[in-house]
Each structure stands twice: as structure tokens, then as C-alpha cells.
Amino acid sequence: MADIFALAAQNLISPVVLSFALGLFAALVRSDLSVPEAVAKALSIYLLFAIGFKGGVSVADHGIDAGLGLSLLAGVIMSALIPFIAFGLLRVLSSIDRLNAAAVAGHYGSISIVTFVAATSVLESQGIAAEGYMVAVAAAMEAPAILSALWLVSRGSNGHRMDSTLWREILLNGSIVLLVGSFIIGFATGPEGMEDISGFIVAPFTGVLCLFLLDMGLVAGRGMQKGHHVLGMGAILFGVLMPVTGSIIGFGCALLLGLSTGGTLLLMTLSASASYIAVPAAMRVALPEANPSIYLTLSLGVTFPFNLVAGIPLYLALAQAANGG
């Protein structure tokens, strides 16, 4: 227990978390600090490329085993099922209507890649290894939840909310293509490729993550200001309970799959995190009547900070306990 607190404290005073806090602070005092949209996009391209590439190199290093396929399968199933749990929990805890609840549920089945990146950076600083293919699992978990959310909405009605264009947009959205693509590049070029570009994707990585989280803090803070009045206490409680619930499901899967401590943390983080890029975009197209303030504020303003600050150390403690680490 004391360990958890020590780890949480150490996590809290890392440059990464404090950069997020700085962004949050700047937004809440309405400073004009802002990261241009093009730069935010560049930072996210960098992070996706680096994390995908490293994952691929690590798989090239250690070889592919059955774990990869099974983990992908587990990820897809979790992504598809978690929305139902989220939907139920949200309807119980708050008075949010069916449509908005379904939209929110889709976000929690899917994943947040920055939360994933933050977890890998905690692993790195602790010197804990993880399965490289967890990056591929992350990609696989992005989309299934969207289908579940739409099914929850159209159940009983005649909703044809998915067209083939939207399908293509979801499955081939930029983040997935870049993440999977750089994973494959990393796998194909292996440690030699890593040597070529480690001065770019390894050395400055944590620093870039800081700037990215500074921007996330700004965005989350502005979202909180705009959205706090749309969320009651029940919804906010959901934003904290749901990631913990998700992480436990992820924990169970990780045990079944026999993942390492690092892999367990990452799978827990994936199932605990909520999407704030791919799913919102799909929801704007497929469920325009749903209120983006609700799902963005929950995902970015409540669950993301919770995971970053408290969730990840908690999940890591659990993963270590289970793996005798």
C-alpha cells in the first residue's frame, strides 16, 4: 500500500504529469497559452510513429508467438463488450438519455493512445518490459466499440447509421494506419532500423510527450470549463468508476493470456482508457444528435486525467502484485 502511494507520488512529480497539470492550470485561469493545431497534430504523428515503430522492433526482437493473435482477439472482444457495461453503469449512475449514454459508452470501449503512451513511459522509467505487440492490440481496440454504441442506439429502431463511407473512415483513420504502419515498419527493419532512427524516436520521446500533454491539459481544461455544467455528479462518478471497471476486465484478460507485468499494465490501461479522437469523429457523423460536450468532457476532462494521475500507478501496483513483481 505504501508502495502504491510512493509510486503515485513519483508518478505525480514526473515532467510528463506536471506538464499536463500546467496545461490544465493555464486553461482554467484562461491564459492565452495555446499550441497551434498543426503542431498538436505533428506531436501526435510523432508519438504514433514512435510508439508503433518501437512495438514493431520489439516484436522483431522477441519473435511472434501465439500471444499476439490471442491478445488481438481479446482486445477486439473487450472493445465490443465494454460499451454495454459502460452503458448500463452510466444509465444507473446518471440521468443521461439513451442516445447520449450510447455515445459515451462507445468512447469507453475504444482506447486513448496517449494514455497508452503515458503508461509505456512509466514502464520505461521503471525498467519494466512489455510485449511489443500491445501496440497492435491498441489499434485493434479502436473500432469495435463504435459498432456496439450504434447497436445500442438503434436497438428496436430502424437506424441505418453506418454507411460504407463511415466504415472506411473508421477503419482507415489516420491514427490506425500510422500506428499499424509504423509497427510493421519497425517489425520489418528490426533493431537495425531502430539504430537508424533512435536519435529521433527514443532520445527526445519523453520530452515530446511532455509538450503533447501540455496541450492535452489545455484542451482538457477548456473542455471542463465548457462542459462541466452538462455533467452531474453521477456522470462524473461514472468517469472515475468506469476506467477502474475497465481496468479490472483488462486485468482478467491479461491473466488469462499470461501477459508479463508490463503487458498486463498496458492491457489494463487500454481497457480503462476512453477514446477522444476516433470515436468522437465517428459519433459526429453517425449520431449528430448526441451532445459532444458530454462525451468529450467525460473522456478528456474526467477519465483521461484520472488515468494519467491515479489510474496508471494503481493498475501498475495491481499488475505487479499479480505477477509477483
Partner: protein, 103 residues
């Protein structure tokens, strides 16, 4: 100089709807349009600003089409079908153009 009467239609719409809107207006027989970036705005669904968003879900843009008067109605119908359930604004102005053969 010789100018010709036309209509300028300005549609402010969410970024995620861009390709759906342009496909719809192309299907309505409109071949020319210009897309302008939008910094931010305010409306019934609240305020937003480009710098404060990380999610592709929130940006907006403007599609400006200049059309011959007789093409206005099909264009508005097509645009309306896309904009209907979404946030956004459609605004039509009378205008004059050079080189009418282009529209």
C-alpha cells in the same frame, strides 16, 4: 466590365461532414466550390476554437459555391439534406461574376 448574375452560397459545417457535403453538391450538378478554414465560432451548440481542440471531431469549415441562379435550388436541397441534422449555417447572397462560362 461585363458581369453576370449568380448566387454565392456559403455553408458553414463541421469538418467531419466535408466529404459528404461536397459529394452531395457535386451530385446536384455543382462542380466548383472553395473551402475556407474556420478559426472558431459560436452558435446554439456553444463556442469553439481551433487552437483548443485536439479532436478532429470539432472543427468547422466553410464551403463557398458560386452558381448560376437556376442551379441554386438543387444546390440548397442537396446541402440541406446533409446539414439538416448537423450544426451549421447556410447563407445565400446575390453576386456578379466575370467569365460566366465557368459556372
Amino acid at each position: 466590365m461585363q458581369t453576370h448574375r449568380a448566387k454565392r452560397v456559403e455553408i458553414t459545417i463541421e469538418q467531419v461532414m466535408q466529404s459528404r457535403l461536397t459529394t452531395a453538391i457535386e451530385n446536384a450538378g455543382v462542380t466548383g466550390y472553395t473551402i475556407l478554414p474556420v478559426f472558431g465560432g459560436s452558435g446554439r451548440s456553444g463556442k469553439w476554437a481551433r487552437a483548443g481542440q485536439i479532436s478532429r471531431a470539432e472543427g468547422m469549415l466553410q464551403v463557398v459555391c458560386i452558381v448560376r441562379p437556376e442551379k441554386l435550388d438543387p444546390l440548397l436541397k442537396a446541402a440541406f439534406a446533409v446539414v439538416e441534422k448537423h450544426i451549421g449555417v447556410v447563407c445565400v447572397t446575390d453576386c456578379e461574376v466575370l467569365r460566366a462560362e465557368r459556372f
